[in-house]
Amino acid sequence: MLEKAKNTQEAAKINWGKVKNILSSAGVLIALIVLSAILAILSPYFLEVENLMNIARQSAINSLIAVGMLLTILTAGIDLSVGSVLALSSVVMAILIKNMGINPLLGMIVGLGVGAFLGFLNGIMLTKLHLPHPFISTLGMMNIARGLALILTKATPISGFPPVVQFIGAGSIGVVPISFLVVIGVYIIYHIFLTRTPTGRYIYAIGGNIEAARLSGINVEKVLVIVYTLSGLMAAVGGLVLVGRVNAAYPLAGLGYELDAIAAVIIGGASFMGGVGTVWGTLVGAIIMAVIRNGLNLLSVSPEWQTVIIGSVIIGAVYLDVLRRRMETKTK
């Protein structure tokens, strides 16, 4: 009897939790929907399949970087080096393939390896050198990697890659861009990683209360190194897509991408204080960023006004989410 009561109670609770989750990630979704509705009204082209696919393409790179950034922000950290890591890993790949004639696939793998390694170094600087905050280590890496990219390429772009390299960034199945499919795949993997594996949960725990995490026997240092390595890896994946997309690797690639990635994560509802955030929120955040720009381009808004509007929309989108949450807490 009591058992029964408990179980039904349980059930009820679980549903409630689910509902809440959906709502929460929906939070930003609402902003995205509102934004899209407005643009659909203002521009006849916005809803055309071709344009939607453009948005898919244009959001892909930021989405890939942002999911790595999400990990660092979940641990109450940050990774400023993603843009430069993207550049360095992609030019290394380019040099291997174009100048050294190494097998393209191998070159791509090495490129990813470089990204992961640079991220690994970020993690080591944080955990072994005990630099007070990843802001410093990754700011340093941001400059170092950019410089090396310039040195290796003598500041000139490397272009003209074999189809296999271009495939991920430029290829498409029917109308759907491969890059977008990659994003979906990656996000599903990270969703599972963060919600279903111990390491994934430890990432949340470290951000939530690092001391408590230590006392629970979590190997905090190890998890942090993993986090920054993955962030570097995702930046390299983004680089792979960029190189394929533009069929060139250039040393200034990814300039300022860190800000877009962070914005996507925060718009997506994650907290700088750590411990809070979902991959889906981040994805929506990245898409919002792409949709704003795309919409403004379709409406041929002049650049200076674009910056003004982008700024306002970012604030507006997040504010919408704030309002939603407040209603949520009221209603519950």
């Binding site: 408990k6 349980e10 609770k13 679980i14 409630w16 939790g17 599972i192 279903r196 594996t197 111990p198 949960r201 949340y204 725990a205 939530g208 209360n209 001391e211 408590a212 995490a213 230590r214 006392l215 629970s216 026997g217 979590i218 190997n219 411990g275 809070v276």
Partner: protein, 500 residues
């Protein structure tokens, strides 16, 4: 050493900047025994167990587990050796659910080809089992941050049980628990004993020591004083070992004459937390608020203090209705709240004792435009003496104080206020017997000088010992009110569990 000895700590010493926390301490633990650890605030109890669990590294000494010397570099090592602990400063994940907190660090997983996945279903089942064992009715999905401190304490207990360790350490597990939960805890401890699990039990509630401990070790100023058998000793003897003197009186209640109405609340309601709360507090009296953990006492006083919103109800201060929407309002009205959770609400841990003590009344120290440090230092120094806060200097970072001494800082902080209504939420949480008396004396002094004191406590003897009047809260409602004379343990428990 005989084979029943599971743990032996020999000649442990540990010093921190400015303090010798442990001086050549020996400690041993038998298989299946409950070993009490007693001592004043700052005696070194927590430091000793933190060395055992690898949170701190000892300067000198050795640790033997089942006869073998062991090196414990971090909590992970300790857990791997089967040593689990509930720390005095709760260590839970605010955003993670109850169930997840219980199994954090030792998740229940199902091995698939290459990755370990968490088995949520089993996790929930197991968690529910443990909560049932503790007679604890909690939603497994609630994030910890939405639980009261007492409930968090219970989750910590569930967590330590889930680790099925050989040695279980409990550092003041009952400091924010009421009789009911304490009883549940004791049942669990006896079950552990039967399973041959050893328990190190730290508490400032001496009755508990006599109830459950097979042996008790007393520490003072970082040194081990004695280890003895509770059966062959008395409370007074233990206290003498602890503080080096005898306490003539545990509850120095004084007679004061009830004055005017200070605080009156009418039908205070916050949906889901408390409903139609009405009571009155007078100057010159101590009003005790009793109840079980999670009854909503903290929520009520937080709302009165303006820290949380209310849905309806009226608040009168000295007869006049007042809209209190923020702590500033309350403080302006001369009403202050000493919060229950020092870590998240009471203190700025990274700041010094001085900074914390003066924080709530900084403007008071302004000389012209600027703050007068000499004045601030002097007042905080007086409070440090008066509450006998164990710290080498007023410039010590609060984080580095012992739990009890941190609690004293929280109280000192609010004594700088010239308030007329003082609400203490679990004021003696983690404070040693000697210092408790000091705090009671301060309350006496306050009421003597025409202030009104409201004291929430989960420790019934304290409520009975110090209150002039007592109201009891159960599930967010006032279920009874007693005068000092006709209040007693049973009546209050009845009202608190609403068995009546």
């Amino acid at each position: 050493m005989d084979e029943k000895t599971i743990l032996l700590m020999k000649g442990i010493s540990k010093s921190f900047p400015g303090v010798q926390a442990l001086k050549n301490v020996d400690f041993d633990l038998m298989k299946g025994e409950v070993h009490g650890l007693l001592g004043e605030n700052g005696a070194g109890k927590s430091t000793l167990i933190k060395i055992l669990t690898g949170v701190y590294q000892k300067d000198e000494g050795e640790i033997f587990l089942e006869g073998k010397p062991v090196v414990i570099n971090n909590p992970r090592d300790a857990l791997n050796l089967g040593i689990a602990a509930i720390y005095q400063e709760l260590a839970l994940q605010p955003y993670l659910s109850v169930a997840e907190n219980i199994f954090l660090g030792h998740e229940i997983t199902k091995q698939s080809k290459l990755v370990r996945f968490i088995n949520w279903k089993k996790t929930h089942e197991e968690a529910r089992k443990i909560l049932k064992e503790l007679e604890l009715d909690l939603d497994l999905n609630t994030p910890i941050k939405e639980l009261g401190i007492g409930q968090q304490q219970m989750v910590e207990i569930a967590k330590v049980l889930s680790k099925n360790a050989k040695i279980v350490i409990m550092d003041e597990p009952t400091s924010s628990l009421s009789e009911k939960e304490t009883e549940e805890l004791f049942k669990v401890i006896f079950r552990l004993k039967e399973k041959g699990i050893s328990v190190i039990y730290i508490s400032h509630r001496l009755e508990e020591i006599f109830k459950i401990c097979d042996r008790v070790t007393v520490m003072r100023d970082g040194e081990k004083i004695v280890t003895l058998n509770p059966k062959t000793t008395t409370k007074d003897e233990l206290i003498r070992y602890m503080v080096g003197r005898t306490l003539e009186q545990h509850y120095p209640k004084i007679e004061t004459k009830k004055g005017e109405e200070a605080l009156r609340v009418e039908n205070l309601t916050r949906k889901g937390l408390f409903e139609n709360i009405s009571f009155t507090a007078y100057t010159g009296e101590i009003l005790g608020i009793a109840g079980l953990v999670g009854a909503g006492r903290t929520e009520i006083v937080r709302a009165i203090f303006g820290a949380d919103p209310i849905d309806s109800g009226k608040i009168y201060i000295f007869g006049k209705e007042r809209k209190i929407t923020s702590p500033q309002d309350a403080i302006r009205e001369g009403l202050v709240l000493i919060p229950e959770d020092r870590k998240t609400q009471g203190l700025i841990l990274i700041q010094t004792v001085l900074d914390n003590i003066v924080l709530s009344s900084l403007p008071k120290y302004k000389k012209g435009l600027l703050l007068n440090y000499r004045e601030m230092t002097n007042e905080s120094f007086d409070l440090i003496k008066r509450l006998n806060i164990k710290t080498p200097t007023a410039k010590k970072v609060v984080k580095e104080l012992s739990g009890g001494n941190q609690q004293k800082v929280v109280i000192a902080k609010w004594l700088t206020q010239k308030a007329r209504i003082f609400i203490f939420d679990e004021p003696t949480r983690g404070i040693d017997v000697g210092a408790k008396v000091e705090i009671y004396n301060i309350m006496n002094e306050l009421v003597k000088n025409g202030a009104s004191v409201i004291m929430i406590s989960s420790e019934l003897p304290e409520i009975l010992g110090m209150s002039d009047r007592i109201i009891v809260i159960h599930e967010g409602r006032v279920t009874a009110e007693f005068s000092r004379e006709d209040a007693d343990q049973e009546k209050i428990m009845k009202a608190a569990t609403a068995a009546g």
